[in-house]
Amino acid sequence: MTTHTSRGIHDRLRAAAPPGSSAADGSAPGWSGERALPLRVELLRQWRRRRTKVVLAGLALFPVIMALLFARDRGDDPVSGARLVDLATNGAVNFALFVVFASSTFMLIVVVALFCGDTVASEASWGSLRYLVALPVARSRLLRQKLVVSLILSLSGLLILPLSALVSGGVLFGWGSVRTPAGAVIPTGEALFRLSVVIAYLAVALLVVAAIAFCLGVFTDAPLGAVGGAVMLVIVFSILDQLEDLAVVREVLPTHYLGAWIDAINDPIVWGDMARGVLVSLTYSGVLLAVAWRHFRRKDIVS
């Protein structure tokens, strides 16, 4: 720091206008609680993390790599089989359905848990959380903006994956009608609608994963703890879900209905399990987020 610049500071400070008059609520001129931490700013803060770009790029690349592998191994025989994997090379939508199937049980869960679990916890671990709170950003608003941005990023991941699968599948396997594991054939236009139902349902069903991760992220200062904890809980739930002795209890596990999207490619669509899945997911999400809000509003932020 040279003398030259240091003199500059003093001149500038002296030249700065005296503090402006404050508003009735005591705030600085131009400040408004409703403008604090705009979504655009929070989105930018998250977007500039390498992690965000790597995850989204990974989700875009995964279907391409899978498509190339499938194209290499594809024989001349007509596609047949009772599993989505057998039917993957039948066409773009079939391939997208397979990719969704392959990633919905683990990869998408990790992605959602990452975006939603780490958003608050990592701010705490960097020490930046206390400066946001003191800015001030009202605590409810801070959580709301962070949750919305996490959900936007999660949803982008959820959209990028099938879109990339559609494009790569379309290029390599064509745009033929869809064959379902149940043996039905659905024309491409209708199938694209079905695929969007699948994605919409998954978005709601994965909300419970987001809520678990977000809630853990509010309770801990360790981002890995929140993300890993959420993923672990989902794994524990899916193990419990395997135990037939648990009977009715299984049906109220938060992640029990995660796979119900398969009924969107049934012929015709069967809504029952998806409706229950939406209900279960929204219920747990509501409760978990309420707990997160309550805790954060009362929390002593010391990290």
């Binding site: 500071i9 005591g26 131009g30 009772a82 960097w126 020490g127 001030p136 594991p181 043996g183 009362r298």
Partner: protein
């Protein structure tokens, strides 16, 4: 100071925790309630022993039974539950409790020859098993909590599956005291079921039942073995050794031995099996019958159930027929629905008047939930007001689909091997699991099957019942055995499905050429438009007894060269979402109330908190009686009061652990004071208070985003405040940071001093009226420390205020105008520096701040 605990203990918050937990429990409870409905009165179980007729040449036979009675004012109608082959009364306990909760006295018992009951297995012989059932009716009639229709005649329904289902029908046929029955997946004629013959002289006049040619068909080797085997397992624990007959009665055992050895039953053995069959008593069944048969059942297929239904309905008895998705091969995917149907049936005919009579027909469609296929939720139910063919005066309507294919010669291999695999008797839906949850057909063995196909169907077609086809078979050896099946073939070879994995065995006696109608397996299947149907006649199926010598058959289409499809007009039943919607509405209501209450509370709290002390409007900071006890009881600050005026540079001094940082945290709204208050420009500080926007702070080190550059950090931090960019004074602040070109490098790469300067700059963004710096000179070198000192002085000169906390006393002495000295959480001295360290005279005259400080905190 670092604290491991991040929450604070406050009285009165525990009830909110309890409230949250209660909400979770309530939500779970509501869902559980909706799913299970497992509520109702208590049910008492009492053991019961009933004497059945003695075995020939033996003593009395004791039947091991239980009675379940509800804790409700009686009397109640009764239900008798009978178990499946190889089971015991223990299998029925859950179902019995559920029924009993609904207001029934329920008796369960172990059939003779099984479990703890005495006697031998006679396969539901009228003189033995049926007589046992009558003894149980007597026992129910003797109870004072059972409704009697007449003395000794209880109001009673009988339900059971498979072996128990046959008992239900036969008991109703042989004892008119039975008022309603609900048999499931049971046989019509055991001889027909174990030696099936699907060749008919004419097509059936009903959807599935038909008159077979000859006395018997092809021995169902594997199923028969599984069936017989489960009745002859020795009780190893009690020291029994395995015997050929196990607990079978000698005549039944001998009949089985003869048939299994030859594959052809003697006429007297068929007669024995028929006596043990509902077929022999149907004409006398007057009890309204809910007849449930499984689509996925190669042991007692739908045609057996249809024969029972037609026989009972012929008496004018109400019959409701349900073809569900499970069966002996398909497990129990619709248990809940079937239990509900059974309860509804008994309610209608035992509790209520029995009107209107229910004679409807329901079949589970293919569009059962793919997801629920594993969990048992909502099947698609197709319904019709009645099953066609009842009464049989007018044959059930049929339509024809043209078949094509040349005459084909096929080979039956010597020894019957290799043989086609279609089902694995006794293993439930194992084969479905092996072939991944679908009904995809395993490929046919080349040379063994003749195939005839339809054109692609122009429109979707629903098959409910048995299609038929007329063929000619020429054989080069005496006797021919063929297995007929119908395949659903998707276009472009996309998939071939064998519905329900069923085949129809056909036996032709004699050689030469025979024309016959082959009745294909009864199924429920929606065939999509564009699919073809294929009729396959194969020479082998490994579930059946096969000819041991090689031979060839030539199969060709005759007559109309068409497959005849039963026309049963069924409509999908709309799914009932009432339960789901009710739960959703309840949860939404709870959530709305909760949110509303929380909002109201918050608004009231906020109104209480927004009192402004106008007298302090010009005072940057007024601290009054401030105290803080962290969760876990650690008291960091007690009774701290001081005041900071405009233009001051105030030093907050104290040794480590004095409570300086805790005070600053409360000033920033990070933690909640336990007592007292802080006012900034007259406004009380609380988390997120608007007045905090006039405060800039660096507390406990920098909090920067490591992946951003210095400039981006400042930029995004300011933009997060939502205030106009013009108010940020970026250039001034950037100069405070003094990072030069490094300002565009990522913060991750910065040294500690660079981060510190950037953090001070961040605190100064917008040139706040009150600047709070906690150890601002950490990591700075002496020239930078001196520079920082001058910046703070100049900053205060502009009419703003600086609070700086430090333990570097020489620094503070040269920077500050005022100081507050803290020790062990309390203020031990405060005032202007001149007052604290007078240049001359007084107690501390001529001493340095360090000496004064050390004496104040008692270190000297």
């Amino acid at each position: 100071m670092r604290l491991t605990r991040d929450s604070l203990s406050r009285g009165g918050r525990s009830w909110l925790v309890i409230g949250t937990v209660a909400l979770v429990v309530l939500a779970l409870g509501l869902i559980l309630f909706a799913v299970s409905r497992d509520t109702g009165p208590a049910v008492a179980e009492e053991p019961l022993e009933v004497q059945g007729p003695p075995e020939p040449g033996g003593g009395p036979v004791t039947i091991d039974a239980s009675v379940f009675s509800p804790d409700l004012a009686g009397p109640h109608p009764a239900v008798l539950l009978a178990h499946g082959f190889g089971g015991s009364k223990a299998d029925l306990a859950d179902e019995a409790r559920t029924l009993s909760r609904e207001g029934y006295v329920v008796a369960t018992y172990t059939a003779r020859g099984f479990g703890d009951s005495g006697g031998l297995i006679h396969l539901n012989a009228p003189d033995f098993e049926i007589a046992d059932g009558q003894a149980l009716l007597d026992a129910l009639a003797a109870r004072d909590d059972v409704i009697l229709d007449a003395p000794g005649d209880p109001r009673v329904g009988v339900a059971g599956g498979s072996y128990g289902g046959a008992l239900a029908i036969m008991l109703a046929g042989l004892d008119q005291r039975v008022d309603a029955i609900s048999p499931r997946i049971t046989w019509h004629d055991l001889g027909e079921a174990l030696f099936p013959q699907f060749a008919a002289a004419d097509g059936p006049s009903t959807p599935a039942a038909f008159d077979a040619i000859g006395d018997s068909g092809v021995f169902k080797r594997q199923w028969a073995g599984v069936f017989f085997g489960s009745g002859s397992i020795p009780d190893v624990e009690s020291g029994a050794t395995a015997t050929v007959c196990g607990r079978f009665a000698p005549d039944v055992c001998a009949a089985y031995q003869r048939s299994a050895a030859t594959g052809v039953p003697a006429r007297r053995d068929l007669r024995l099996l028929r006596e043990s069959s509902p077929a022999s008593v149907l004409a006398d069944v007057r009890a309204p019958t809910l007849l449930i048969q499984g689509q996925s059942d190669s042991l007692f297929p739908l045609s057996q159930g249809d024969a029972n239904a037609q026989g009972i309905a012929a008496n004018g008895t109400p019959v409701k027929v349900v073809w569900y998705a499970g069966g002996h091969d398909g497990g129990d995917p619709e248990a809940e629905r079937l239990d509900a149907l059974t309860l509804e049936w008994f309610d209608r005919y035992l509790s209520d008047s029995g009107t209107p009579a229910d004679t409807s027909f329901e079949a589970t469609g293919a569009a059962a939930s793919l997801f629920g296929a594993r969990t048992g939720a909502d099947p698609e139910v197709l319904a019709a007001p009645a099953l066609p063919g009842i009464g049989a005066a007018v044959p059930a309507p049929r339509s024809q689909l043209a078949l094509s294919g040349p005459p084909q010669t096929i080979v039956a291999p010597a020894g019957g091997s290799p043989a086609q695999v279609t089902s694995l008797p006794g293993f439930g839906d194992v084969i479905n699991t092996l072939v991944r949850g679908s009904t995809s057909a395993l490929p046919d063995i080349p040379g063994q099957s003749a195939v005839f196909r339809t054109d692609p169907l122009p429109e979707p077609t629903t098959i409910v019942g048995s299609p038929t086809v007329r063929v000619r078979v020429e054989t080069d050896a005496p006797g021919a055995t063929l297995f007929a099946k119908l395949l659903d073939v998707a276009p472009d070879g996309a998939g071939v499905v064998l519905p329900s994995r069923l085949v129809a065995p056909v036996r032709i006696d004699g050689s030469g050429s025979r024309e016959l109608t082959v009745v294909l397996p009864a199924i429920v299947r929606e065939i999509d438009a564009g699919h073809r149907l294929a009729v396959v006649l194969a020479t082998t199926d490994q579930g059946y007894s096969l000819p041991q010598t090689a031979r060839t058959y030539t199969v060709s289409l005759v007559g109309p060269a068409a497959v005849s499809i039963p026309d049963v007009a069924v409509e999908p039943v709309p799914v009932d979402y009432t339960a789901t919607l009710t739960v959703a509405a309840a949860l939404a209501a709870v959530a709305a109330v909760w949110v509303g209450v929380a909002r109201a509370l918050r608004r009231r709290r906020r109104r209480a908190a927004t009192q402004i002390d106008d007298a302090l409007a010009g005072t940057p900071l007024m601290v009054t009686g401030l105290g803080k006890e962290y969760a876990g009881g650690f008291r960091a600050v007690s009774d701290v009061s001081f005041r900071v005026d405009r233009g001051q540079v105030l030093g907050l001094l104290g040794p480590n652990g004095a409570g300086k940082t805790t005070v600053l945290r409360m000033l920033m709204g990070l933690i909640h004071p336990t007592e007292g208050e802080l006012r900034v420009f007259g406004h009380k500080v609380r988390p997120g208070a608007p007045v905090l926007s006039r405060l800039g702070a660096l507390v406990e080190g920098p909090g920067l985003l490591p992946f951003l550059s210095g400039r981006q950090n400042l930029d995004l931090f300011w933009r997060a405040s939502g205030r106009p960019m013009a108010d940020a004074h970026f250039d001034t602040v950037l100069e405070v940071a003094g990072l030069g070109d490094d300002v565009d490098r990522r913060v991750k790469t910065y040294s500690q001093g660079m981060r510190q300067r950037l953090a001070v700059a961040q605190a100064m963004l917008g040139l706040p009226e009150l600047l709070v710096l906690d150890e601002p000179t950490n990591g700075l070198d002496p020239p930078q420390i001196r520079e920082m000192r001058e910046v703070m002085r100049t900053y205060a000169d502009t009419g703003r205020t600086v609070i700086v906390s430090s333990h570097l006393l020489a620094e503070v002495e040269r920077t500050c105008t005022h100081a507050v000295v803290m020790n062990r959480g309390r203020v031990v001295a405060s005032g202007s520096l001149d007052q604290l360290v007078p240049a001359d005279g007084g107690d501390h005259g001529g001493r340095s701040l360090e000496e004064v400080f050390l004496s104040l905190i008692g270190a000297r």
